[in-house]
Symmetry: C2
Amino acid sequence: MDERKNNLLKVIVETYIKTVRPVGSKALCDMFNLSSATIRNEMADLEEMGYLEKNHISSGRVPSEAGYRYYVSNLMEPEKLTGGDMLKLQKIFANTDLELSDAINKCMDIISEITNYTSVVLGKSSEDNTLLQINIIDLGNNQVVAVVCTDKGNVENKMFTLDSNINVKEVIKTSEIINKMLVGTPINDVSNRLELEVKPIIKTQIRQYETVYNIFYDAFNDFVNNNSNIHVTGKTKIFEQPEYNDVSELKRLANKLEDKSFIEKVEENSDEDEIKVYIGKENKFDSNVTIIRKKYHINGEEGTIAVIGPKRMDYQRIVGLLEYIDEKLDSRKDK
Amino acid sequence: MDERKNNLLKVIVETYIKTVRPVGSKALCDMFNLSSATIRNEMADLEEMGYLEKNHISSGRVPSEAGYRYYVSNLMEPEKLTGGDMLKLQKIFANTDLELSDAINKCMDIISEITNYTSVVLGKSSEDNTLLQINIIDLGNNQVVAVVCTDKGNVENKMFTLDSNINVKEVIKTSEIINKMLVGTPINDVSNRLELEVKPIIKTQIRQYETVYNIFYDAFNDFVNNNSNIHVTGKTKIFEQPEYNDVSELKRLANKLEDKSFIEKVEENSDEDEIKVYIGKENKFDSNVTIIRKKYHINGEEGTIAVIGPKRMDYQRIVGLLEYIDEKLDSRKDK
DNA sequence: TATTAGCACTGATGAAGAATAAGTGCTAAA
DNA sequence: TTTAGCACTTATTCTTCATCAGTGCTAATA
C-alpha cells in the first residue's frame, strides 16, 4: 500500500459514503491528475488486496468490509463538528440543571436526529454504588415489598408474596441484619457477601432461612439487572438510509431492533475505553450494520453510548461527534 | 339490504380477508347458485351503497371501510377457537402461580404470535390502589428519595436534590404528616387532598412549605403516571401482513409504532366495556389499520388489551380470542 | 320480472426486445 | 509507468405485445 493507493482508497470510501453509488475510474481522474486507465489499474490492485468489490463485471467499485476496516484504522480523520451541530450539543451542556444521564440521552437524541442513524445509551448506574439500606414494607396479606437503595440515589423495589409458613417479622429482622452488616458494600458485591457472610448468621436466627434468604437474593439481583438506563432513539431513523429501501432488508433489521437481546448484542464485549468501530461481521448485532461505541465513566456512573448505521456510515462525522461529547462530559465531571 | 345482499357482502368480506385478492363475480357463482351476471348486478348495487370498491374499472371488488363496518356491526359472528389456539391459552390460565397481569401479557404474546398482528396491554394498576405509606430516604448531600407505596403493592420512587435552604428533617416531618392524614386514600385522590388538606397544615409548620409541598406533589404525580404496565408484543409481526410489502407503507407504520404517543393513540377514548372494533379512520392511531380493544377490570386492576392489524384483519378470530380471554379472566377473579 | 348468455371493453401484469449508459479489462503505443 | 483506444459486460429504462381476470351492457330466456 503506497501513498497513492492509500489516497485512492480514502477517496473511494468517502465518495461511496456520500453518493451510495459504485465509484468509477473516471470520477477520480481530475482529483488525481491521472488517466482513468491508471486509476483502473490501481483499483484492480486494491480489489485484489480485498479492499474493494464489484457488483458485476463492469460496475464501479464499492468498499468491502476489509476496505472500511482499513479506512477506519489507517486513513480516516475524525471530522470537526460544523457550527450547527456544535450549537445543538452545546445547548445541552450549557443547561447545568440537567442530570448528567439526561444530558447524555439528549445528546444521543440529537445525534440520531441530525444523522439519521439509530443511537443507544446504556447506563449502568450500579457499578460504583454502595448499599445504603434495604427496607421491607409490610403490605399485609403475606405480601411485602423490598426496597433497595444505594448511596447514589438509585432505588429499586420488588414485591414478594410470602409462603404462609413465613413470618413477616422474620423478613424484617433479616433486613435489619443485612443493613447492619452490608451497608457501604459495593452493590455488585452484595450478592456475594450475602451468601458468604449473612447466610450463616441468619441460619442461626431464622426458621425458614432458605426462603427468606432467597427473597433478598432476588431483590439484589433484580437491582443489579434492572438498574440501568436504556435509552434508544431513532429506531426508525436508520430506515431512511438507502440500504433499507428494500422490504426484506427493512423487515430483517426491524425485527432485530425489536428483539429482546438487541441491547445485549449492541453492547457485547464493550470493555475498551476509546471510541471503537465495529464494522459488519465485527459486531454481534447485525452483519450489515456498523456500530460505533464509546464507554463513559462519570462520577460513578458508567455506561456506553453507541450509534448504529449502515456499513456505509459517515465514520468521520460520528467519531467526531462522539469525541466532542466525550470531551464535554469530561469537563463536567464532579460538576 | 335484503338477505341475499347481506350474505353476498359477508362472503365477499371474508373471502377478501382470506385471500387478499379482489373478489370477482365468478368465484361466487357456485356458492350462491347464481350466474356471474346476477352476482355482478348485486355487486354493482353494493358498490353504489358504498360497501364495496374497485381498484380499477375491470377489477374485482374489495370491501370499503363502510363495508367492513357493516360487516362487523351486522354480519360477523365471533369464531369458536380452534383446539390448538385454546390449548395455548389454557396453559397460561392453568398456571395459577402466575400474577394475573403476567397472565394477560402472556395471552397477548400468544395472540400476536398466532395471528401475526401487534398486541398491546395497557394495565393501569393505580385505579383502585390506596396509599399505604410514603417513605423518605435520606441519602445525604441534600438528596432524598421518596418511596410511594400502595396497599396493592405498587411502589414507585423518585429522587430529589433539595435546595440548600431546605432541611431534610422538614421533608421527613412532612412525610409523617402525610402518612397520618392520607393513608387509605385512593391514590388518584391523593394529589387533590394533598393540595386541599395537607398544604394548609404544613404551611403552619414548615418554613419552605411551597418547595417541600412540590416534592410530594411531584412524587405522587409520578406514581400515577408511571405505575402502568405497558406491554407491546409483535411490533414487527404486523409487517408480515401483505399490506406491508411496500417500503413506504412499512416505514410509515414503523414510525408510528415507535412514536411516543403510540399507546395513547391506541387507547384513545377507551371507555366502553365490551369488545370494540375501530376500523381505519375510526381509530386515532392510523387510518390504515384496525384496532380491536377490550377493557378489563380484575381485583382493582383495570386496563385495556388491544390487537392492531390491517383493516383486512381476521375480525371473527380476534373477537373470538378476546372473548375467550375475557371469560377466563372473569373466572379467575379473586382467585 | 328476475336471471342469464354473450360480447365488447378495460386495466394490470409480465415477458421480450432494443437502446442507452456506465463502467470494465486488455493491448499496444508513448 | 502511464495512457489512448477498443471490445465487451451488465444494469437500467422504455416500448411493445400478449394474456388474464375481471367488468358493464344488451338482448334473450324461464
